[in-house]
């Protein structure tokens, strides 16, 4: 892709776990925020026709989807420069994991959009 090709280095292994780290962060944040919101009574408070809890959770959900999607651009640029024997497989695996993590973030947080409340 670009002229500055280089071998895959140890720190590139970061890309194997980056996507799912965002997933894990989003998952923990949703679970924790929901518990705190229920404790603080946010589901009883309304703000523009939805509960504060719903707003907060939806916000966190979308933020993590954005973060997961945003990983993809630098990954493309960096993985595009990888060369050498491991480059092809490593690139495939890193891209697949980043996209799979994004899909998982969307999937496992989706109940935020459908279900309501603290019961």
């Amino acid at each position: 892709m670009s002229g500055r090709e280089r071998p895959v280095r140890a720190h590139d292994l970061f890309w194997l776990v980056a996507g799912f780290s965002v997933w894990a962060g989003g998952f923990s944040a949703l679970y924790g925020l929901h518990a705190i919101g229920c404790r603080a009574g946010w589901d009883e408070m309304d703000f523009v026709s939805l509960s504060v809890n719903r707003w907060a959770l939806t916000g966190v959900y979308l933020a993590h989807i954005t973060a997961g999607a945003a990983l993809y651009l630098p990954l493309r640029a960096i993985a595009g420069r990888w060369q050498g024997e491991s480059a092809r497989t490593m690139r495939q695996v890193a891209v697949a994991l980043t996209l799979a993590a994004l899909a998982s973030t969307i999937w496992s947080g989706a109940p935020v959009l459908v279900l309501e409340g603290c019961i």
Partner: protein, 186 residues
């Protein structure tokens, strides 16, 4: 259940097929195989299950419609004390409810963790010291229903059974009064 058996049969067929005598190595296309079998197939099945399962779970919860009665179930090692909203006294190991409508059971414990489970009336919920969990149960017909502690709670766990008696709605108040007037039994 039947769906599961079909999936099992299909998978075992796929796995055992290559062992047949007349099997010739097939150059299966890797991408097609893994995209369809590994990704698309489970995702379709799971989405269907989740779309069915989440609302079904929601509808089993208390809160949507007001209950026809509210009772308290307090677990201890090893038995149950039942109290009734607006009534003095309690009953031991026998719970009286009106049939034909949802009843909210506020489940708690005074010692270790137990679980309230009357299999024919609802799912189960844990009785946890320091917190109260609400379970919605419903008996469509009057009758006697068996219940038991479903979370291991020590030596007396096996014998920690209880009975739920569902009365016809018009007879409920009288039956409850009679039970509460008794010596705490049912």
């Amino acid at each position: 259940m039947i769906g599961s058996l079909l999936i099992l049969a299909m998978m075992m067929g796929l796995i055992l097929w290559p062992f047949l005598k007349r099997h010739k190595p097939v150059d299966v296309p890797e991408a097609l195989w893994l995209w369809s079998g590994g990704l698309a197939f489970p995702l379709i099945v799971l989405t269907a299950l989740l779309i069915w399962g989440l609302p079904a779970g929601q509808s089993m919860l208390a809160g949507r419609t007001p209950p026809v009665a509210t009772v308290e179930a307090e677990a201890f090692q090893w038995g149950w004390t039942f109290r009734y909203e607006g009534r003095e006294g309690d009953t031991s190991d026998v719970l009286h409810i009106p049939a034909g409508g949802p009843v909210d059971v506020a489940v708690s414990s005074i010692d270790v963790i137990h679980a309230f489970w009357a299999p024919r009336l609802a799912g189960k919920v844990d009785a946890i010291p320091g917190q109260t969990n609400i379970l919605r149960i419903e008996a469509s017909e009057p009758g006697i229903y068996a219940g038991q502690c479903a979370e291991f709670c020590g030596l007396g766990h096996t014998a920690m059974r209880f009975t739920v008696i569902a009365h016809a709605p018009e007879a409920y108040e009288a039956a409850l009064s009679a039970a509460l007037a008794g010596d705490g039994g049912g």
